[in-house]
């Protein structure tokens, strides 16, 4: 079987300009911050980013915005990265704001092959604009559509050489959802382990979902 371990440089070289990227993490905690730094080093541009937030200007994927590599962002929160708001107001970056729970379900729906989900969140607010509503037993729901992307960039605590992943505590967040919804999935991991060292019940992302593994350990 093909070895999934790949260099940071080679992994990011797979990503073309204009690609759509699901990026794990929450305020860059549990974010694939090595992969993000390498995106900047290689100067990838016109990216579409789907992520919980745009972090801070100096941390994790926040830097992608500051470096003006992002064309569009789909996210629940941009409040701690002034650059995102500034570029949005200037028309330099398109921002689609999505309630956080809806964002999680939309990415999950993309990953598990659902055509959409019905959520009560956002009904009657400006989030409803342009969306279909469905009424069920007198309650109105928004029809929210799945999100998929060309790549998912995730950050793991452990990876075995098949690509099974574990995440630690609140660093888990969006990572396992995104690992299902990327056409190509690249995982950076602190520890790379031999196959069989992660018990089956501890695996949070099964190996078959992961295409490439990058080590973040110092070499």
């Amino acid at each position: 079987m093909k070895n999934k371990l790949i260099s940071l440089e080679d992994a990011v070289a797979l990503i073309p300009d204009g690609a759509s990227l699901l990026i794990g993490g929450f305020m860059a905690v549990g974010g694939p911050n090595r992969l993000v730094d390498e995106l900047i080093r290689q100067g990838k541009r016109d990216l579409t980013i789907i992520a919980n937030d745009t972090s801070r200007p100096t941390y994790g994927l926040g830097k992608l915005v500051v470096e003006k590599l992002v064309r569009k962002v789909v996210t629940s929160h941009i409040g701690l990265n002034a650059d995102t708001q500034k570029q949005m107001i200037a028309g330099a970056i398109e921002v689609e704001l999505v309630p956080q729970g809806t964002l999680a379900e939309r990415i999950r729906a993309g990953g598990v092959g659902l055509g959409g989900v019905l959520t009560p969140t956002g009904v009657g607010t400006i989030v409803e604009e342009g969306k279909r509503t469905v009424e069920i037993d007198g309650t109105t729901y928004l029809l929210e559509l799945p999100i998929k992307a060309d790549f998912a960039l995730v950050s793991a605590k452990q990876a075995d050489l098949y690509g099974n992943l574990t995440y630690a505590l609140t660093a888990r967040n969006f990572n396992p959802l995104m690992a299902m919804a990327g056409a190509t999935v690249i995982a950076e991991a602190e520890d790379i382990l031999p196959v069989g060292c992660i018990p089956p019940d501890a695996v949070m992302t099964p190996s078959v979902l992961v295409d490439h593994i990058v080590t973040t350990a110092a070499r």
Partner: protein
Amino acid sequence: MDEKTLIARRVALELMDGDLVNLGIGLPTLVARYVPAGRHVFFQSENGIVGMSGPITGAENHDLTDAGGSPISALPGAASFDSALSFGLIRGGHLDVTVLGGLQVDRAGRLANWMVPGKMVPGMGGAMDLVTGARRVIVAMQHSAKGEPKIVEHCALPLTSVRRVDLVVTDLAVIEPTDAGLVLKETAPGVTVEQVLANTGCELIIAPDLRSMPIEG
């Protein structure tokens, strides 16, 4: 006692033993300090944990943070999970109480707290799910801002949800939205009904059992 402490202490009285509670950033975070003795409350952080507590100095870790990215700790019996389960707890009716800050609350008890068009567009984060899904929504906020009432006839700001919140706790009063309108249930220590009314932008119904907040200085 400053105003924020007063609000946090009053809100904390609403938390019951065994409750699952999510506190918004800012003022609501203070509530955790004042949970009445003998009540065990499970605090959720929506980035993926139930059973969070304040950080252990010197033992902070980058894998264990709150929704703002600040270090926390996990109490015995804590559980961690992904964002879909975290919001499953919220949207699915498993969250007993959420405490959130507010920009405006209208006479129907609807909250606006996530954007000021043209000025501040941080995004809604988890607020819309929290207000829509929590069993009880408590708004914790200053009664007025720069002299302008925050409790108003109609919200000028975009709503967070059309769902009526359950309680509004301010530095002046405790107000309960009902079918009939906003009911003034309690006044802050030393605050008169007239002061509350003068700082409120819409009609309030005075509760027959109106009382002073059960908070001792």
